[in-house]
């Protein structure tokens, strides 16, 4: 880590410094005929930096990050796997990067082929035959699917079915998407086994039910063993079942949601399919639905026609949820990923993801409390023991100490159904040795926690900054330089 503070661009800015220049600009000539009311006096006060100083600025900033390429990064629910370099090299090729979205289909057959095949491959992976690549991320996939559900309900003359059941362990995007789609959320309890409480589910089904959103494997890392039954019940009640596929890494090639009764689901290509999303995105959240729902999918779909591939708007499309045709450059990488792995490789992903997670779980269960301690899928949730809590040790302390020990921490305080949750997802791209070092660190931390070691409260001490005052950031908001 680079411990030296890096001034803000604005602080390093000096009048007259230049990086990118273009020849031939002439403000007077450009202004001819423009309404003076809309013309500005001085250009925007962007920072003025020289090229090499910019390179240093951002290079130095990069040295203040943990990343998959530098650290074990078991951020649960996020599937932080290796992002293949070859896909980056492919995506840089002008044949992809320089396609304009409004070029005629005849000029972009390669791109359409990629999308068409990806639709087919995702359909095969999920057992759901109709796929749209349109949504920009998982959350938008959820929203899109819920809109499809609205459209379907309307066509069933059931517009008043407005309640969507969501387990309390679900990711926040599920209920948030419901609201945006005009649904009301009713929460389902997680049973003592970490699975959806079937009695609770049954009691909540009824004619007001539009459907159910289920995450499978769920956010505790457990496979919903009753999933077929759950789907049957919801269908019987006249609803449809949506599966949040953020955790698809665990079951790819092993079980197909379409086979166990799922009607709709999204995939996070930026998780399961390894596309980079540095700093928080971009993603792609294709949704896969049963054939009867295909006609509602958003515009556009890629279809194969006599004269090649083409874009087509489904007959009853819910419309668009974004510009153009989806995050194509993300789709491209996911396509390349699938091509590289093939059917066998994709199944191996799941196998190794699950093995790695169980390896961690079993190695750590004697040291940490693992509330639902059966076989897990791709991730598992642990938490500090009572004895540790008695020493005043919180999950936050664990996370910070892990940082100090050179690991990116797991997801913490999620799912909400486990207090002080520590949710670790190693992914299949980590070696046994890396897992072992993590196990060692977690055992060390467990011992420190039992001792109430001060180190846990002071950590991290070897990072560019120590713990950050988040309250202050709200009380005295500084959200950008000029206004700060």
């Amino acid at each position: 880590m680079n411990l030296t503070p890096v001034p803000l661009l604005f602080e390093d800015s000096r009048p007259g410094r230049r990086c990118t220049q273009f020849a031939g600009a002439d403000r007077a000539a450009a202004s001819v005929g423009l309404p003076t009311s809309e013309l500005r006096d001085t250009p925007p006060a962007l920072p003025e930096m020289a090229e090499q100083d910019l390179l240093r600025h951002f290079t130095r900033l990069s040295q203040k990050n943990y990343a998959i390429s530098t650290q074990f990064y078991p951020l649960g629910s996020c599937t932080m796997k290796y992002n293949p370099q070859v896909n980056e090299a492919i995506a840089m090729q002008p044949g992809w990067a320089h396609l304009h979205p409004l070029q005629d289909a005849g000029e972009v057959q390669g791109a359409l082929k990629v999308m068409h095949q990806l639709q087919a491959d995702l359909a095969e992976c999920t057992g759901l035959s109709a796929v749209t690549l349109h949504p920009a991320a998982g959350a938008q996939g959820e929203l899109t699917a819920l809109m499809v559900l609205r459209a379907w309900l309307a066509d069933q003359d059931q517009p008043d079915r407005r309640t969507v059941l969501i387990p309390d362990s679900a990711h926040g995007t599920n209920p948030a998407s419901c609201t945006l789609a005009g649904f009301e959320v009713q929460s389902l309890k997680t049973g003592p086994d970490g699975l959806t409480d079937m009695e609770d589910l049954k009691s909540k089904l009824g004619p007001h039910i539009a459907g159910l959103m289920v995450t499978n494997p769920n956010t505790i890392g457990l496979f919903e063993e009753n999933i077929a039954e759950i789907c049957r019940l919801v269908h019987e009640a006249g609803g449809r079942v949506y599966m949040d596929g953020a955790n698809f890494n665990a079951i790819m090639g092993v079980a197909k949601p379409g086979d166990f009764g799922i009607d709709m689901m999204h995939l996070n290509l930026h998780k399961t399919f390894s596309t980079p999303h540095g700093g928080g995105g971009p993603g792609a959240g294709p949704i896969c639905v049963t054939e009867d729902l295909r006609k509602y999918l958003p515009a556009p779909q890629v279809v194969e026609q006599a004269d090649g591939y083409a874009l087509e708007v489904p007959s009853h499309s819910i419309g668009r949820v974004r510009g153009y045709h989806g995050n194509f450059m993300v789709l491209l990488r996911a396509y390349a990923y699938i091509k590289r792995l093939g059917a066998e490789g994709l199944r191996r992903v799941a196998e190794n993801a699950v093995l790695n997670a169980n390896y961690l779980r079993v190695k750590l269960r004697g040291h940490w409390r693992v509330p639902f301690d059966g076989i897990c899928m791709h991730e598992f949730v642990a938490r500090p023991t009572k004895e540790m809590k008695a020493q005043g040790v919180h999950t936050l302390d664990i996370a910070k100490r892990l940082i100090e020990l050179n690991f990116h921490p797991p997801t913490v305080y999620f799912p909400l159904v486990v207090s002080e949750a520590i949710m670790a997802e190693p992914t299949e791209t980590e070696s046994k040795e890396t897992l072992d070092t993590y196990v060692e660190a977690m055992i060390q931390i467990a011992e420190e926690a039992l001792r109430g070691d001060e180190a846990l409260h002071l950590a991290p001490r070897n990072t560019p900054v120590s713990r950050v005052d988040e309250a202050r950031a709200v009380k005295d908001p500084k959200l950008c330089f000029v206004c700060g």
């Binding site: 031939g24 990343a67 409004l102």
Partner: protein, 454 residues
């Protein structure tokens, strides 16, 4: 197996250590009857070499617009960016870190987002900006939703000059939350608000410059908003701020847009990034991630995600938006690009784009009497709407002739605006060269000549 480090021996050792005999045992929680039987119907994997060659083959089926004279616009422009952007984005500490939840090991990401927010706010002319949205279209939808939440009203008025995709996105988003979207028509290329904006109205939205390249009157927008106590929203082509005023400075309440023009490959339409800027006072209604400055325990300046209580992971169904993953890595490109341009650079890009568009309009209207400016009374920026007297059929011929000449261009607008037969747009950037324009004019002269002859 590609991308899986552990060997069979490693796997066996691990299984033994944790007391299992096979990986299959680990899938016991998945009922046998719903496990797949055979392998999936997906082709066998390729080696890296074979993959690269396969992808090169597919790429060769494309005819990228950006590597030849390109006059395509419609919200995505063939702008340039310095090599620095590609290089810095490729640094895996940026590329492969996720949302900076843990500030102590994410100061790199957090600081650049803070810088990004600051520069976006500057271009928008607003007090604050968020860490990015998916794209311009969805940012527009989030903006009207936010306005509706603030104003607690169920109607918005949207200019017909807004990009069709963005309009359609707004319609889709608002339909299910029962907000009425009223469209203000274009009259002679600019938005005519008429008396559509009334006290039921939460927001008034215009695109600057609009889909036809025409510069809208932002004072009209803010006046309309003010009289109805609605919020004004501008969907902004950010490059235009090199020459035109920042909407926030004109009093616009929310400024959104697509950042593709700021160093992002056209990439067949995505991922680009959306941006979202507004006033400090609306911070709690803002969608998306936000980075703020604070202090660490030792009083050092430190950045952190902030105002998370707006967001889905905390607020769940009451969140301001459902967005989680955003378009950060693309926003990083925007961040580096804006800093590389600086004030003078962005002015140069804006001026050149406009200068080239002027030259283009001149050249094309001189090339043939059968092509005229669609809105001769209006000022355009870098994109120009023309009308072919021969109608859409003539436009199609022109487009095909251009394609044959290796030029990418011509967006026929009647696919979205049924009453605009024969209207098409062409766009310029700093990459447009005089010889591109000449060549285009020549093709126009030839095509429309034939027309007359036909």
């Amino acid at each position: 197996m590609p991308y899986i480090p552990n060997s069979d021996a490693d796997r066996a050792a691990m299984l033994t250590e944790i007391g299992f005999n096979s990986v299959d045992e680990l899938f016991a929680p998945i009922p046998k009857d719903i496990q797949v039987k055979g392998p999936m119907a997906i082709e066998p994997g390729l080696t890296e070499l074979d993959l690269r060659e396969h992808m090169a083959e597919l790429a060769s089926w494309n005819r990228p617009a950006g590597t030849r004279p390109c006059f395509l616009g419609g919200g995505t422009y063939n702008h340039d960016w310095p090599a620095l952007v590609d290089h810095l984005q490729s640094r895996t500490e940026f590329l492969t870190a996720y949302t900076p939840y843990q500030p102590e090991c994410s100061q790199g990401t957090l600081q650049w987002i803070y810088e990004f927010q600051s520069m976006i706010a500057e271009l928008a002319g607003c007090e604050i900006a968020n860490a990015s949205m998916y794209d311009g279209a969805s940012a527009g939808a989030e903006a009207v939703l936010m306005a509706s939440n603030i104003k607690r009203r169920k109607k918005v008025v949207v200019s017909a000059g807004l990009h069709p995709d963005a309009r359609h996105t707004i319609q889709t988003y608002l339909k299910h939350v029962e907000i009425e979207v009223v469209e203000a028509p274009l009259v002679d290329g600019v938005t005519d608000w008429g008396d559509l904006v009334d006290k039921d109205c939460a927001a008034v939205l215009v695109q600057q410059p609009n889909f036809f390249g025409v510069i809208e009157d932002l004072d009209q927008l803010t006046a309309q908003a003010k009289q109805a106590d609605a919020l004004s929203i501008c969907s902004l082509y950010p490059v235009s701020t090199g020459l035109l005023r920042s909407p926030g400075k004109a009093g616009v309440d929310i400024v959104v847009g697509d950042g593709q023009s700021l160093g992002v490959p056209m990439g067949y339409g995505g991922p680009h990034f959306g941006f979202f800027a507004t006033s400090q006072k609306y911070v709690r209604q803002l969608p998306g991630r936000l980075v703020g400055e604070s202090l660490d325990t030792e009083g050092r300046r430190a950045y952190t995600l902030t105002f998370a209580t707006r967001e889905q992971h905390i607020r769940r169904e009451k969140a301001t938006s459902n967005i989680c993953t955003n378009n950060a890595l693309i926003a990083l490109r925007g961040c580096i690009h804006m800093a590389a341009l600086g004030p003078q650079g962005i002015e140069e890009v804006a001026c050149l784009s406009r200068q080239n568009a002027l030259a283009l309009s001149e050249a094309l209207t001189s090339a043939s009497d059968s092509v005229q400016l669609a809105f001769p009374e209006r000022a355009f920026f870098n994109e120009v709407a023309f009308r072919a007297t021969g109608g859409d059929a003539a436009v199609l011929r022109f487009k095909n002739a251009l394609a044959a000449a290796g030029i990418a261009g011509v967006i026929s607008v009647s696919q979205w605006y049924a009453d605009m037969d024969g209207v098409f747009t062409l766009a310029c950037t700093e990459k447009t060269r005089p010889q591109h324009i000449e060549r285009l004019a020549q093709v126009a002269a030839e095509t429309f000549q034939m027309e007359v002859a036909l």
